[in-house]
Amino acid sequence: MFESISAVTNSAGYILGGVGVTLLLVGLSLFIGFICGIVLTLGQVYGPALVRRFVGVYVWFFRGLPNIVLLFLFYFALFPFMGFDMPAFGVAVTVLGLRSAAYQSQIFRGAIQSLSDGQMLAARSLGMTRWQAIRSIILPQSLRLSLPGWSNEYPVLLTDSSVAYVIGVAELLTRTSQVISRTGEPMILYLTCAVIFILLNYGGMMIIQYVEKKVRIPGFGNNEAECL
């Protein structure tokens, strides 16, 4: 018993390293999803018909397949077929990022569509180009309105990230399982793993809430409820 406990504590560093990998995986995927999501949304809202069709198919594809299927598809089939020799971590970031882009694009799209046409009309009436209006008015407003949607997307991506286990990315769950197979302590180790996920979830939500407060504008978006 003591032996295995000490084996567990000896592995603490290794497991914590997995937390780092998980955070990096989630962070990079969110970032890729954010950038690609914005591009997809702009294409879908302002692009020509062909681009809109493409985004529709893209979103349908990435939202329609289970994460694990996407991972296998890219890791074992598509990337090798295209000659990409990408490590498992890179594949996981790519797949989770592209998938998150599909979800985030729909959050942004909802936000853009909730803005009144008058914002764009007013900007254009002042001589701004469409791109200037998008950058200075449409995006700052719709990104603020997207923050509540983001507090849904982050926990989903965080929990989804553990699926990278199946292609051997050394993230939190993978490392936990490895240590368990060496020490035979599933209870304490899986509990630890669960607690860490909950903490990561909580921490991320705190950051999102902090950002929400930081960029809040009086009377903009739905923060009237606060006055009640």
Binding site: R124, S125, L126, G127, M128, S136, R144, I217, P218, G219
Partner: protein, 247 residues
Amino acid sequence: MSDVPILKVENLCKSYGDLEVLKSVSFEVRKGEKKVFVGPSGTGKSTLLRCINQLTAPDSGFVYLNGEEIVHSGKKINAYRQKMGMVFQNFNLFDHLTAVRNVELALLKVKKMDRKSAREKAMYELEQVGMADRADFYPAQLSGGQAQRVSIARALAMDPEVMLFDEPTSALDPELKREVMEVMRTLAAQGMTCIVVTHEMKFATSFATEIYLMEKGEIVEHGPPSEIPTSPNFVKTRAFMGSYADE
């Protein structure tokens, strides 16, 4: 007055599907003139204003700004639009920016002014409409009248040659209408050329140099404010202008 009108509208037509919203509308505006458009709801007054600065593309017809045709001007339209300030019924202030940022945004992005001069110019325009003390308020923190005055300042900051007002006071309570009208009168007294769509007949007659009566996409009558309100055409249509208030 110079020979070339500031603005000349020639045979503008616009349809939405089967609905002919503008049926060959033509008129001219010279420097300092105040043209006021009145008419029942849905006769195309807003569409006309938006076809003038090309926020809506007309199906046919021409618009000349200082003699230059702008309907088919491609990207140059952004330069022309700066010369035509527009004020909307719902203000359309940028909701995420304070009053002063609303006014200075296009100065920075379009006119490429440096921060300091843009801020000075924006504050000057806010002073002109009596809103300097609200410079750091967000749109949601302003009354309707205050918001509309900021939106006027925003348009004026671009140094337009003509101002287009689309029912600037319709969304306001009587008390607030007055403060916006006051600003418009001051502007007019300074010689600004104005095209105004309004339902306020008293204001129209005291403000206009010429009143245009629109009905079903056409100008059915126009003339000096001393004549239109008593013309048979106007009296006839007036019955259909239920919402026409008398200030």
